[in-house]
Symmetry: C2
Subunit: 134 residues, 2 copies
DNA sequence: GCCATTAAATCCATTTTTCAGACTGAGTTG
DNA sequence: CAACTCAGTCTGAAAAATGGATTTAATGGC
């Protein structure tokens, strides 16, 4: 996990990935949402591309000029789980600001939570677990 | 989540909480494990105490002098979920280093994974979800 | 073709952090 | 009392973040 923390354990990187999960793909939109310095945003996006979490790709709507967009790779989409778990933690322990985003089932719209799942596919309470260090 | 990212979205903070989850409680032990600068470790621990994720408390084994130990509060223990999710992500996408720690059921020792759980308590694939922004 | 506009950066000077290592102080052991 | 351990604090150099101005590239309108 040290590697993972190195790669994405950073205030802005976390928020950038969240933006991307929300579906924001353009540089300026992210900059406006986050208020991050442009230089930092630029550096972080480059880094996220380098490590394969996002890709930068050109796109062009007819009648408009070519733009770039940053989209999550499958590796990036998988960060939804840790990020959602973190949101959930924040909601539980520091709720004080705006109502949160939720992760929902696409077909039904029913909200999901992040939790532990046993090998048999049953939910497990976190209090009934420990860490086993290899 | 911005708040959460602010509070714990930082390379060392993440790793410190992981240490604590592993059961390391003493300053020097953490410093040795992490290799973090002592001043940073000191500042981060103070911060984690301030935000109620850890507490510093004195303890004394008979025959030894009094020591301090840093232990996770329940708020801190709840970070096991996001942290484990992050580990899981790292294992899947950047496995290259030492075999990972696992979260296991305390009674059986069976490993668990972090995943999405529906309202009915059934596991949900992440690909079948989206974010709904409130 | 020329100008204004927009998106996506980069550059710059200033302030903050980080870093590694030396140092301090309290309590303990020899 | 000298040496040792733990838990920090202090220090000065190096690295990174910040907000703002500037640059580059591609348009669209005139």
């Amino acid at each position: 996990m040290a590697r993972a923390a190195d790669l994405i354990g950073d205030r802005w990187t976390l928020l950038i990935v969240r933006e991307a999960l929300y579906g924001v793909t353009r540089f300026d939109a992210m900059q406006a949402d986050l208020g991050a310095p442009r230089s930092v945003l630029s550096a972080r996006l480059k880094h996220l591309c380098d490590i394969g979490v996002m890709t930068k790709r050109p796109y062009k709507k007819p009648g408009e000029r070519q733009r770039h967009q940053y989209v999550l790779t499958s590796r990036g989409v998988d960060l939804a789980l840790p990020l959602t778990a973190l949101m959930q933690w924040g909601d539980k322990h520091l709720r004080d600001d705006a109502p949160p985003a939720q992760i929902v089932e696409r077909v039904s719209g029913a909200p999901c939570r992040v939790g532990l799942i046993s090998e048999q596919g049953a939910p497990v309470e976190i209090g009934k677990t420990t860490f086993k260090i290899a």
